[in-house]
């Protein structure tokens, strides 16, 4: 069905075209949302088709049977870009990037729907969103370091502008903090990339090619490069103590911005670790295991404890992201197939769940005019659907079995026990704390008597464009909670390849 079509490139290109059209709409700014919807939906459909055609376990099929197959990657495309220093345009997708890829197109489309009532500078708003999609998609399929970095950085600008233009009261501070903090991290990664390029001295930036050399780098070199990469990816993740850009960015960002920030941008960090850092630098990863584990556990617990103290719903959700992304890192830190697969799955799960949470925070903000828990209360009476959706979102996020996060968390815990035994009791405490802050927040904002601090007389329930994306996400959360196999089976073989350097995982 899709032979000889550069599907990946096409999927990346579509939002770019959409963005350009959107910017050039001139006086017809109100059309921007349609343009954005059409192009993002087209990208989503393409990515779905791609996921459908994706061969689940490439190693079981004969290599020749899969169109565009190369060394674990499907839909592989390779073109020379800058010959002088060996930069290539290489894209390909495997089981690790596939869930991220589809998640990206999905969340972008849903965010666009969610933003349907945006009437402030819609051209720019939707255009930037599509640009962001281009960047994120590019990151997830790039197989060339230079390209990877370029896409990685492209993401920053639209997000900076989104926070800065459509943000809340402290947007200036938050936007610039986000921009510079994550940029510093990217630059650390950049230096690591340079070091890998020269140490491998192959004259190419191709990830696969460099990986063949980098696994044999000296231990010291590996640790140094890994540390730089870890910092670069970890800030994005974000890990404690380099997380403080996140709450600020989230609190000020517009809802759709938060959704994409938490749903996709954080995943870039986790994705980078497993795509680049860990498989390419096995000795470095092994030496840094303790650091990774300690930071991961610290993120999980610290993030969770901080959530308890938050008064702003969105800030709470932001801190919960820190906690949940800690599971990703913890999974990776085990360096075993189980943990890594679970970590990747957790990224996917968190992407779905956190999108719901931020959207619901947005709904509360739009309808009530405030997100401060102290000012809320008893909203379930006024907006029952919103309350139900929010409850489901919170439950999903606290790792309720049957919803998508559980499988990931459970497997991460299992992997941790397999590797470190009874240390498991440290991160597992977070499960209780997580339940505590979510339910407490729910109790104070949605339940109880109706608040008198704000005027609730005109508060309506969710609008269709708010409810629909959330409902779609919730259905997916339930589906993948009941059938995690669908994703796990795809991640597994890819992770197996990624962990080859560790002697069979």
């Amino acid at each position: 069905m899709m032979e000889n079509i550069p599907v990946l490139s096409l999927t990346i290109l579509l939002p770019l075209i959409g963005a350009l059209i959107s910017f050039l709409l001139g006086k017809r700014g109100h059309m921007a949302k349609w343009v954005a919807l059409i192009f993002s939906a087209a990208a989503f459909i393409l990515s779905l088709a791609l996921a459908y055609e994706f061969v689940v376990d490439p190693s079981s099929a004969a290599a020749g049977e899969i169109e565009g197959y190369s060394n674990g990657y499907q839909y592989y495309e390779s073109h020379v870009w800058i010959e002088a220093i060996g930069i290539n345009y290489i894209v390909g997708i495997d089981g690790i990037s596939l869930p991220m890829f589809v998640l990206t197109t999905l969340l972008c489309m849903l965010s666009i729907i969610f933003s349907w009532d945006t009437d402030r500078r819609p051209k720019e708003y939707f255009g930037l969103m599509l640009i962001l999609e281009v960047g994120v998609l590019g990151v997830f399929v790039s197989l060339d370091y230079f390209m990877f970095y370029v896409f990685w950085e492209i993401v920053l600008i639209p997000m900076y502008l989104m926070i800065g233009i459509w943000g809340g009261p402290r947007k200036d501070y938050a936007a610039i903090k986000f921009f510079i903090y994550t940029h510093v991290a990217s630059l650390a990664m950049l230096i690591a990339i340079m070091a890998m390029y020269f140490e491998a001295s192959l004259g190419t930036f191709s990830m696969e090619a460099i990986a063949t050399q980098s696994v044999d780098f000296s231990r010291g070199m590996q640790v140094a490069i890994f540390a730089a990469m870890f910092f670069g990816f970890g800030v994005k993740l974000p890990m404690v103590p380099f997380h403080t850009w996140l709450p600020d960015a989230h609190v000020e960002a517009p809802t759709a911005g938060s959704v994409l920030l938490a749903g996709l941008l954080l995943k870039m960090g986790g994705y980078g670790l497993i795509r680049v850092a860990i498989p390419s630098l096995p000795s470095g990863a092994e030496d840094m295991v303790v650091v990774m584990a300690v930071i991961a556990v610290a993120s999980i617990l610290y993030g969770a404890v901080l959530c308890l103290a938050q008064n702003d719903l969105k800030k709470m959700v932001a801190y919960s992201s820190i906690s949940h992304m800690g599971f990703v890192l913890l999974g990776y830190a085990t360096l075993g197939e189980l943990g890594v697969v679970a970590g990747v799955f957790q990224m996917f799960a968190h992407g779905l769940v956190t999108a719901v949470l931020f959207m619901m925070c947005g709904v509360v903000q739009h309808k009530c005019g405030t997100r401060l828990i102290d000012n809320l209360g008893g909203l379930a009476k006024k907006m029952p659907i919103a309350a139900a959706l929010m409850t489901i979102g919170f439950l999903a996020s606290l790792g309720l079995p049957g919803l998508v996060s559980f499988a990931a968390e459970f497997m991460v815990f299992a992997a941790v026990f397999f590797k470190w035994g009874l240390w498991i009791f440290l991160p597992i405490i977070a499960v209780v704390v997580t339940a505590a802050y979510y339910l407490w927040a729910l109790q104070r904002s949605m339940f109880g008597p109706m608040t008198e601090k704000i005027d609730l007389s005109h508060v309506k329930d969710v609008d269709w464009y708010e409810g629909l994306p959330v409902a779609i996400l919730i259905v997916l959360i339930a589906i993948f909670g009941v059938f995690p196999y669908l994703i796990f089976s795809r991640i597994g073989p890819a992770v197996e390849i990624a962990l080859r350097a560790f002697g069979g995982g």
């Binding site: 870009w81 950085e153 800065g164 020269f198």
Partner: protein, 496 residues
């Protein structure tokens, strides 16, 4: 006849000087002063086309005739620099007529502009200290006059005075340094200096110290041109006071001339004493980028901010000297090229706004995104490019530049301290993002006047040219990077 050989290699410069000389006449004959600009463009475009078709297109090769008299050499290294100078020249000339509309004696302006560019190209071509010094001075004197061109403008006169005093002082330092080098080497030919100095060190006691003294004075003298810390103080004042297109010329071209001289002298003539100066220049590089960026953060005048940003950029390029590999020089050349476009572009946006009566304060940029989407977008891209955000030109060249430091530090037998140059570079890039983003914020995130701004046509063309190049060199820079590598090779292959 040897003299004809020289003239042959010197043809573009002659053309430039010729046009410079007829400028006053043209000024006298034509009422529409745009004619002057087009006349000034003619030799520049011709030179540019010739350069492009040679360096990138490869359609012809300069005929290098033997025997040589050893004052000038047309090679790819000089070609790249000349390309940068001419490109900036074109951009500046294009945006000048609208900016200096109200001034008298516009013929002089273009004449000086052409002479300045002539001087710069001479520096790029020079293989002998005498010619190099002459080139420096021609460009310098022309730019002193240029920066004072807006005679009714108090700041312009002040800028010229300061530029002139500091510039004269630095010329004296340079000349004295050159005289000392001549003393310890017995030659003024750059490539021959090294071996002769080596022989001298062995023969005569104390000559090494004299060479070090001369090196220091040369660093100071040329450090003035590139505005390296602590020889940079004049730059913000002059860039602020000078007419904006001239500021663009100073930041984007005059500074590069300093690098042309530095690369030649240090990498060709002074490699024998590299151990003496490499750490010092490394420290200066780090200081330069850091101070430039730190002070840029607190500026309120956009031209001043861009001036400090130029200082910082000079720090990046200065890395090349201590690294000294071919790859590093390629990165330096590449950055020279990209910086020429993005910095001159940024200055031209300021110039275009000034033409329409918008002030130079960063606050005057409020709401520019609404008032003039094109100028705002162009400015955004120039600034992000300066900050090194992909996929823009500034990123590509910085990437090569910084990676050369990494390369040199991890290569077997490399000097590991060079890594700190890369680290300082990236940290400074992040720091610089702060003030660039602040301008972007003013343009897009803050409300200003609603009045739309019509873009001055010729300046608009200049900006568009710079913009296209800024994007192109970021997205597809294969040919240019290859050229820079070859150019670097052509410089370093003559190292004895």
């Amino acid at each position: 006849m040897e003299i004809w050989n020289v003239l042959d290699e010197f043809l573009p410069q002659l053309l430039l000087v010729l046009f410079a000389l007829i400028m006053p006449a043209l000024d006298y004959f034509f009422k529409d002063k745009r004619v002057l600009a087009f006349a000034a463009l003619a030799p520049l475009v011709a030179y540019a086309l010739a350069l492009v078709s040679w360096t990138i297109g490869g359609y012809w090769e300069p005929a290098i005739s033997e025997p040589r008299i050893g004052l000038l050499e047309v090679n790819l290294f000089s070609g790249v620099f000349a390309l940068a100078f001419v490109a900036v020249g074109i951009i500046v000339v294009l945006s000048s007529p609208e900016f200096i509309k109200a001034e008298r004696n516009q013929g002089e302006y273009y004449a000086l502009l052409l002479l300045a560019i002539t001087g710069m190209t001479v520096v790029a071509l020079a293989t002998d200290l005498i010619v190099l010094f002459v080139g420096l001075e021609v460009a310098g004197i022309a730019s002193f006059a240029l920066s004072g061109f807006s005679k009714r403008e108090k700041r312009s006169a002040e800028a010229a005075t300061k530029y002139f005093i500091v510039g004269g002082f630095s010329s004296a330092l340079t000349l004295f340094a050159i005289s000392l080098f001549y003393g310890v080497s017995g030659t003024t030919e750059i490539a021959a200096m090294g071996p002769q100095m080596d022989a001298m060190f062995a023969d005569v006691d104390g000559t090494h110290s004299v060479a070090v003294l001369a090196t220091v004075m040369l660093i100071a003298g040329l450090g003035f041109k590139i505005a390296a810390v602590p020889f940079h103080m004049w730059a913000p004042d002059v860039y602020e006071g000078a007419p904006t297109p001239v500021s663009g010329l100073l930041a984007a071209a005059s500074k590069k001339m300093g690098f042309a001289a530095l690369f030649k002298i240090f990498l060709l003539g002074l490699v024998v004493v590299k151990a003496d100066w490499d750490v010092a220049i490394g420290i200066i590089a780090i200081l330069t980028m850091t101070v430039g960026n730190l002070v840029a953060v607190v500026q309120t005048n956009i031209k001043r901010m861009l001036a400090y940003s130029s200082i910082a950029q000079a720090g990046y390029i200065l890395m090349v000297l201590p690294i000294g590999t071919e790859y590093a020089v390629a990165g330096g050349l590449f950055h020279v090229l990209t910086h020429a476009f993005m910095k001159s572009g940024a200055f031209m946006v300021v110039a275009a706004l000034a033409v329409r009566g918008v002030g130079e304060s960063i606050d005057d940029f409020k709401g520019l995104g609404k008032r003039s989407p094109f100028l705002a977008l162009a400015m955004t891209l120039f600034l992000f490019s300066l900050a090194g955000i992909p996929p823009l030109a500034g990123f590509a060249s910085k990437f090569v530049l910084f990676s050369s430091a990494v390369d040199a530090s991890i290569a077997p037998g490399g000097q590991s301290w060079l890594l700190w140059l890369a680290v300082a570079g990236v940290l400074n890039s992040a720091l610089s993002l702060y003030y660039y983003a602040r301008v972007v914020k003013r343009m897009y995130m803050e409300k200003g006047s609603d009045e739309r701004i019509a873009i001055p046509k010729m300046t608009g063309v200049a900006i568009l040219f710079a913009l296209v190049m800024t994007i192109l060199l970021g997205v597809y820079f294969d040919a240019v990077l290859e050229l820079c590598q070859e150019a670097a090779g052509s410089l370093l292959q003559s190292v004895p």
